[in-house]
Symmetry: C2
């Protein structure tokens, strides 16, 4: 069968010997009820004829495509794979599908994705932006619901969800201090106009324990970014004995750089990270990291979008999520089998 | 602005002082040409009013949503993240968006995704199935174009694309033999009705070199699957000195198991894998692997779908792709900086 001779609702009605309206009731599960025998006959006709209700016509009627757009900032963020999967699941539970786009750390690409999704009239957009303060003017102008992910509430009147960066970083660095480290460096993300909570938390932990500020190197949020930064940091005079990275991908790169330098982890250099991706569990040594509650964030993000779409309700706000320490071998903790 | 008082084409036409048809020409980039000054006026009106052309109405007219569905079998396959990104790029170049779904190694979930995508009337489906011989009856019955990924041509009359598994495995195992290994085990995927080309290639390399068949352990296609299998394999009497895994995720798990057993890689146990994901570059030691040409596969998959959608043309066929050895530290080759 091809598009050119598509089976219509009338074909199904004729085959099942019911009215076209009854076919609609079966397909849409309402609004009127259909007797089980009749429903079975309609379903059999749909199966035999290979009928597909016209999705475009349905969307036109419902004024909804039941599709969300997801814009991720980077394939390099180890957690985003898991976040995308979790969002897909959460959306599916509400009968929504998800169009996935990836801006690969490019703000221009991000705006292009946003514009395309707006043009497609998706029912809402979830955005993990390249920028701390994303430019969502095209989305706002079009009145499309949007919720920011991996964000700290930087856009007024737009709901956002994000991990408690400062609290998580403070806990991670304090944990390293508990292992006896006194020179703790940080590999951060690219510098932006907005201060990063992880940097603030790292500094606060150091200063509260009377420790000097360790070296700070900004790097791309990727394995390669972390690799390069760690290589440089290890070559510093008085190189740190421990490194905190702003994400798992960077930490994975840092581990490679430390191994290559012939140093032992965690004896010579300890590492602790932020994210809690599955990849972190299988590095060598396994990576200690502050885990974000990905499934919870995904569910809340979809709920927030649906609330915006429905209109009214509570005003947009920022929700932040506490991270939990996954202590493994890279920080000096005992490791357990996977 | 909300959905309830959406700006219409007529509003734009009035604001720009043109006819509604001219607005359509600008929005659809044709069929008639519009003078640059007029186009600028229309675009300005669109911007000011926040007009969004009705995507559902357009889809109804075009009989196309310009959306492909992508069904991946597992979040555990290290390469699928890169494949999904590459497919998104290739589709975007043709103005198509991609709905991503993940069946998490469940055949039931896979059929559900396929049915949902058919109901949405996507323009085509790319399927990396859980099964060697996928059940695509719902898709075929509906006449929706489908192309199989990560497949070896197992469904007659359905185009498929996949790596040359046997050739790649043969090359990988021969490489290990070149490093002097004589007891080479394999961690394969879950057993199925269809023989896996990687297994055949592994066996052929061993037998052509007069080596005994090493231990073979089927495992889930995941880091944890590879971890468990490697743990068991290392405990065998006469454990192998080298392991070939059917995918990078399994190899990543195997590396952790070998480290935990206190053995050195590659001196005590060498590892070589299949896929060529970015993750493989940052394990310790970095993972030698047979790289699949992901971008090429993604482009060809989208081209094949578009050809099916257009109808006619060459009959469906299987295309296979040669893999190339990325020799790194895990097999015993010298490693270069990332």
């Amino acid at each position: 069968m091809t598009w050119d001779r598509a089976v219509t609702r009338n074909d199904v009605a004729r085959y099942a010997q019911v009215s076209p309206a009854v076919v609609s009731y079966v397909v849409n599960k309402g609004p009127k009820r259909v007797r089980p025998e009749t429903e079975a006959r309609v379903l059999e006709a749909i199966r035999v004829l290979g009928y597909r209700p016209n999705a475009a016509a349905r969307a036109l009627k419902l004024r909804s495509q039941e599709i969300f757009g997801l814009v991720l900032s980077s394939g390099g963020n180890a957690l985003f794979v898991e976040l995308a999967n979790a969002i897909e699941d959460a959306a599916k539970a509400e009968r929504f599908a998800v169009i996935l786009t990836n801006s690969r750390a490019s703000a221009a690409k991000e705006r292009e994705h946003l514009r395309n999704l707006v043009a497609r009239q998706v029912d809402g957009i979830l955005l993990a932006s390249v920028d701390a303060v994303p430019d969502i003017s095209d989305v706002s102008a079009a009145g499309v619901p949007i919720v920011l992910l991996d964000n700290t509430g930087t856009v007024p009147a737009v709901p956002s969800l994000g991990a408690d960066l400062e609290g998580g970083a403070y806990a991670a660095v304090s944990h390293l201090i508990g292992h006896g480290h006194q020179r703790i460096g940080m590999i951060s993300g690219p510098p932006g106009d907005h201060p990063d909570g992880r940097e603030t938390g790292w500094l606060r932990a150091l200063s509260e324990h009377g420790l000097p500020e360790g070296p700070l190197l900004p790097a791309k949020v990727s394995r390669f970014g972390g690799y390069q930064a760690a290589r440089r940091m290890l070559a510093f005079p008085g190189a740190p004995t421990a490194i905190f990275t702003s994400g798992d991908a960077q930490a994975v790169g840092a581990l490679r750089a430390i191994h290559e330098a012939g140093k032992h982890i965690p004896e010579d250099v300890a590492v602790i990270s932020f994210d809690g991706s599955t990849e972190a569990e299988y590095t060598w040594p396994p990576l200690s990291t502050m885990r974000q509650p990905v499934d919870e964030i995904a569910r809340d993000a979809v709920t927030a979008l649906l609330a915006l779409k429905a209109g009214g309700g509570t005003p947009p706000q920022h929700r932040h999520y506490t991270t939990t320490l996954q202590a493994r071998g890279s920080c000096g903790c005992a490791d357990t089998p996977a």
